[in-house]
Structures are given as C-alpha cells and as structure tokens.
Amino acid sequence: MYAKQLIALTAGAAALAGLSSSALTDGSWGKYQVGDIRSGYTFAEPETRAMQDDDFENPAMLVLDYGAELWSTKDGDANKSCEDCHGDAENSMKGVGARYPVFYGPWGKPINIELRINECRQNNMKAKPYKYESNEMLGMTAFLKYQSRDMPVTVDIGGPNKPFYIKGKEFYYERRGQLDMACKHCHEDNAGNMIRANLLSQGQSNGFPVYRLKWNKVGSLHRRFRGCNKQVRSKPFGYGSDEYVNLELYLAWRGRGLPVESPAVRN
C-alpha cells in the first residue's frame, strides 16, 4: 500500500516536471537508444554526459589504467600475468564484455566477469582472488569491458542459461522489502519520472562498472543492486551471489543492443 502511494506521488511530480532530460540536437539519442530501450546515459544530466564523453575527463579511467597495469603484472604461485596467456587484451578480450554473463560449465550456472576473473586467478594463476569491490577488481573489470566499448550487448539466454534467465526475470518482478516494491515499479513503470529529486532511468546495466558521482568512485553493478535493495528496505544479497548474477543476466537481456559504455559516468 505504501508503495502505491509513493508511486502515485512520484507520477504526479513527474507530470509537473515533464521530461527533464534533453535529447541530442536531432531529437534522438543516437546509439544510446535502441527502440524503446534507453541507456542510463539518456537520463543523465548534460554535465554528467560531458564527463563520460571525454575519456580524459572521466575519472573512472584512473581505475581503468590501474586495471591495465594489473593485466600485465605477474601474480600468484604460478607467476603468470593475464597477458602471458591471453596476450593483448585488445584482441583477446574484444566482445567479452558484451556477451557476459555466460553459462559456466564447471559451476553449472552463469558466471559474470568479476567471478570469472577470480576463477582464472585461483585456477590458473594460483593467486588470491580479488575482493569484489576492490580497486583491483573494479579496475580489471572496467579494463576488460572497455575492450568491447560500443559493441552491442548480446547476451545468450537460450540453452543452459534459460532457467537462470527466468530466475532473474522473476527477481525483477518480485516485490521485496518493507516498501514492497519490485525493480519494475521504478525502472519499468516509472522510467523517465521523478522519484523526489531523482530522474528514474530504465536501470540498464550496459555502463557498469560506473563512476558514480554520489559514490565518488567506481562501483560494480552488484553494489548498485545492493543500494537499490536497501532503498526499498529489503535485505541485500551478497556480492556475486546467484540471485544477483541471474538478475545481471536478465538485465543484460533487457538492454540488448545497447552499446557497452563501460566505464560510464552516472549521478
């Protein structure tokens, strides 16, 4: 009931405010829009978009540079670097960021880039896994996804991924928390409307990991999930948990065709 009131309120506010995000000069959002699917870029303020447009001004690039450094740094008992096996990331990692999460045979479930990096570190480099939200992990993820920049998100939801895609979809439409709200109440029903002072986006994942101005640093998609879950007063799931990986899979499918923007800049 609370949620319904909240939504009624925000819908009213949105009618007053109109669409506060302005389109590009020709009235469209160019590559940032595919049909009805709009990247978070199109909901961002012009100043925020300018930060993302200029790679130099984008503060996420500092972490990305760190990731690039780690790519060629030897680590672990095997004394190998990523580069020793994978070579030049520009070639070997091209397209990886656009198709993850993928089904991972040994686990019998989907795996996202973060978990895949740690799998590789543990199995092949015999190194300690990175902490999920560490600069190392964020830098490496940003660096890998950057290699697929502007490639359309094309996640495979068929075959063995299918049941996990369905689970992710169920999560998206499932009410949770004290506010009794599902992802869809904000990001599907009210995308483009204001929630108090914030413009709701469609909740697309194509720019992650993002530099978020509120965080003053780069953060992962799962950090954003946790924030969203806390805001509806539900208990967040863990970083890299099955629930979130399934949701990540479903979200990638929702944003299919959008260009990989990582590392993007958001509010």
Binding site: F56, P59, L62, K217
Partner: protein, 106 residues
C-alpha cells in the same frame, strides 16, 4: 594511489593558445564528514596545484575542501617556448605528486 593523468598537445605553433588537461585520483576528504562513531574524519585534500614551464610558473591554483574527489583541472596556456612542463599537486599531509611532459613549440 594518487596517480596523475595529463594531456598536453604534442606540438603547438608559437603564440597559439593550447588547452592542458589534468586529472588526479585523490579522495579529497573535506574534514567535515564524520565516521560511524561520530568522530570527524580529518581533512586531507590537495591544497595547491602548480604548473611550471622550464621552472617558470605558468599556472597555479589553491584548492579548498569543496573541490570534488579525483579533481580535474583544465587550463589554457599561450605557447611561448619549448621545454618541460612540470605539474605538481601538494597534499595536506606534506606529500607532493608530480608528473611532467615535453612541450614543443615551433
């Protein structure tokens, strides 16, 4: 991890006005925020940024706590002579971070 990034044009004509961009990763702790127990987190910001060309000051800025984390600074410079551009950031804790670039004026 205070690692600066700079962008300096490869070459410039004499008298031309060029844009120089800098970015450094720094937490820029304001000294106003409190931690979980209510104690003030001590201020730690970069308080001064300077740029010199052949050891002559060409640009400097004093920074205050309102400057965001990971500060970005862009400024314009009239190309007068070739030489070495030195960039320095001074931290509250006494550390300085610096980097340099060659600047060619033809």
């Amino acid at each position: 991890m205070a690692k600066p990034r700079i962008k300096v044009p490869k070459s410039a004509a004499k008298g031309e006005i060029v844009e120089i961009k800098t970015l450094i990763s720094h937490k820029m702790e304001t000294g106003i925020r409190k931690d979980r127990d209510g104690n003030i987190i001590p201020r730690q910001i970069i308080n001064k940024f300077t740029c010199t060309l052949n050891d002559k000051m060409v640009f400097s800025a004093d920074w205050y706590p309102a400057v965001s984390a990971n500060p970005y600074m862009a400024f314009h410079l009239r190309a007068s002579e070739s030489g070495k551009l030195n960039f320095t950031w001074q931290d509250d804790n006494g550390e300085t971070y610096s980097t340099s670039a060659d600047f060619n004026v033809s």
